[in-house]
Symmetry: C2
Subunit: 166 residues, 2 copies
């Protein structure tokens, strides 16, 4: 695709990753990447002449965001598409790719993106609260377990002590 010949093999498709490399880097299966491609959720920005997928650094980041929103927030792929689409539209506006956009349309996009951000913030904050409650419950239970062990003269190994300090 480039005019000048690149140095050698490793740099032929400089900055482009094969599907297996992306899979390893982001810890997903190649099946997952092909599925996202099929849905149009994450499409590789180019292909080899033989038809195999070539992912850019940006594509890789997009895959990572999808997994984050899915694993951490529990969103489904359609919700994730909505969020990523909104962010992309605002990024376009900010970089003024589309100078001819009307002020009304501009306003609509900013309001949509900002309120989507606000509701997502609310969901995340709510989730943190629930997790903190859940952690407190676990800690209270652990206290009971330790008391029971002490009462029955049972020594507890290190595996019974949580790693993360607070």
């Amino acid at each position: 695709l480039s005019e000048s010949d690149p140095p050698a093999g490793a740099l032929r498709d400089a900055g482009l990753y094969r599907i297996g490399e992306v899979a390893e880097a982001v810890h997903v299966s190649t099946r997952t990447l092909r599925y996202y491609d099929q849905l149009g959720l994450v499409e590789p920005s180019s292909h080899s002449q033989g038809g195999s997928r070539r992912y850019s650094q940006g594509d890789l980041q997009r895959v990572f965001r999808v997994r984050e929103l899915q694993a951490v927030m529990g969103f489904n792929l359609e919700e994730i598409r909505t969020i990523l689409d909104a962010e992309a539209r605002l990024a376009e506006l900010q970089q003024e790719y589309r100078g001819g956009v009307s002020p009304a349309r501009k306003q609509a996009i900013v309001v949509e993106v900002a309120s989507l951000n606000a509701t997502t913030q609310d969901k995340v904050a709510a989730k943190i609260l629930i997790l903190e409650e859940f952690l407190a419950d676990l800690q209270a239970a652990a206290k009971r377990y330790r008391a029971f062990a002490a009462q029955n003269h049972i020594p507890l190994p290190e595996s019974c002590t949580p790693q993360k300090v607070n």
Copy 2:
């Protein structure tokens, strides 16, 4: 099942809930409850003479815990079964339902439950950290959105302000 006749209709199966009542209370579908029953994950503690499911208060609590572990922690039903089973085994020990259990077995159960608790604590703590990072990212993005809106003289409605204060 009871010797004395209960007062009237509403109290016939005192403390027992029909599947639809549980579904409404815990915000799950009846299909989900039947699926949990089929898996042996949450079985109703009794049935009507006609064969319809009757859930106790305890069953309802168990359903609630399943949904919590699933929605908040993203565990699958087999992992949830493991956690609930371990907790139940320890509860048995603590209430000494089984006096004839050997000290070695007793120790094994306590250690297993306590270390399961510890690893779960670690997972919850890790998840909280990720969510806090995610929330910080969202807040940073919101700041950029507000700046863009101000620069373009676009007023932002209340829907663009998150509700939860910290």
